[in-house]
Amino acid sequence: MRCVATSTLPPSIQARRTTIAMKLVMAVSGSLFVLFVIAHMYGNLKMFGGQAAYDDYAHHLRTLGEPIAPYSGVLWIIRVVLLGSVLAHIYSAFYLWSRAQGARTTKYRMKKAAAATISARFMRWGGVALLLFLIWHILQFTTRTINVNGSHDSPYDNYVAAFQPSVWWVFVIYALAMVALAMHIRHGVWSATQTLGWTGNVRARRRANTLAITLAAVVSIGFILPAVFVLFGVIK
């Protein structure tokens, strides 16, 4: 143990090899997810426009950028960028998680939280829950490996089939995932603005928190709304 304040500078001194740089990776990759979920949520609202609107939208995603880009080209670019972001986000999350565990190996017998929101406390396990959900979601709707209630050619029909009352548990999974997503966005967006150094005063911090809460509410409610309407037979 070092009991004197002798300077022991680490061998390598680089800005990009710090925990703050790791947080920047997390903030940038997380922000890309946020942009993605906003766009995805908006697309899903086309369920309210009927079968043609929704299926056209799904088809349009594949012809986006044509003829400059090939069929599905832009979609694949988005997928690759998102996959890269997911990997970077998970890597930095687990790196910081394990560092935090090593930073306090003897726990307090008594510890009170004075400022932590529930969302902040749920970031790590909530993130793991979102990852599991993401895998389930892709297997169900993208690769169609898991086929819950019949498989159709029309994306609209697949959506409607998935949220029928007979398979109510699918709705429950999605509803819980949206709670986890709302919580992750609520702390994540605030945390990202802080990590990026944009919240240097009280007003900016308040605005960042308002933005985080608003985005969390809009995205999670926007996502679950069409599913609720299918469940209750309004969209069929």
């Binding site: 300077s7 022991t8 001194i13 680089q14 306090r104 307090y108 004075a114 990026l196 150094g197 911090r205």
Partner: protein
């Protein structure tokens, strides 16, 4: 007042330690928390037992030596230092748990005393300005915008007590470091070393084994000098800027 103290006792850095229970019944409301520990120690010495080791120096809230985890809160239930905490903040008959700061970068030396020299090493890594000493320059020789002066001054209020680390679920020292980086970075004298300072300090911080920040805010809530999270934003911004400058 009658109180029950549950105090962390640990004979040395290698001892595993544990909580010991003591009853005290001659406590008055206007005693400071450290005076209560003094009373406890007088009793222990009289009965031939080892007194509880704890840190203190100024006992007026400015040196930062006296940090204790009291009933799960850094410096106890009030926004102040342990030496400025008084027994009127507790109720008669209360059981009070007292633990040392917990962070692997702050190893326990004995009982409630931890070694905070990791903070000194962070300061040595870059928390200073290099100037020729001599006669103090005239205060108005270098103009400083009022807003910057105020903010630098508020950040300089950090006494390095370590409550931010103690309260942080990640045992991160970012509020401490943010206060130093903001204090020096907002003043003209701090500019020449601004990029180098933040990079060195953050590297040293990580090297000491503190955790990374996740912007939860427990630090600012525990800070006896009420230093806000703004300074962490400034720290992050300065590190990003240094990175953009190729550091």
């Amino acid at each position: 007042m009658k109180i029950t103290l549950k105090v962390w006792r640990q004979s040395g850095p290698k001892d595993s330690g544990g909580l010991a229970t003591y009853e005290l019944d001659d406590i008055t409301e206007d005693m400071s928390f450290l005076e209560v520990l003094d009373v406890l120690n007088e009793g222990l010495i009289t009965s031939g037992e080892e007194p509880v080791a704890f840190d203190s120096d100024c006992r007026e809230g400015i040196c930062g030596m006296c940090g204790l985890m009291i009933n799960g809160s850094a410096h106890g239930p009030e926004v102040t230092t342990t030496c400025q905490l008084h027994m009127r903040s507790f109720s008669d008959g209360e059981t009070i748990t007292v633990e040392p700061w917990r962070a692997d970068a702050f190893p326990v030396l004995k009982d409630l005393v931890v070694d905070r020299s990791a903070f000194d090493r962070i300061i040595q890594a870059g928390g200073f300005i290099s100037v020729n000493t001599g006669a103090a320059p005239d205060a108005h020789a270098v103009p400083v915008p009022k807003e910057n002066a105020d903010k630098a001054f508020a950040s300089a209020a950090c006494i390095g007590c370590g409550a931010c680390v103690a309260a942080c679920p990640n045992a991160s020292g970012m509020l401490f470091m943010g206060a130093k980086v903001t204090h020096l970075g907002l003043l003209p004298q701090g500019q020449p070393e601004r990029d180098a300072r933040v990079v060195k300090m953050v590297n040293q911080h990580d090297h000491e084994g503190f955790g990374g920040c996740t912007n939860i805010g427990e630090c600012a809530a525990a800070c006896p000098k009420e230093i806000p999270m703004d300074v962490i934003s400034q720290l992050n911004k300065d590190l990003r800027t240094a990175m953009q400058h190729g550091r």
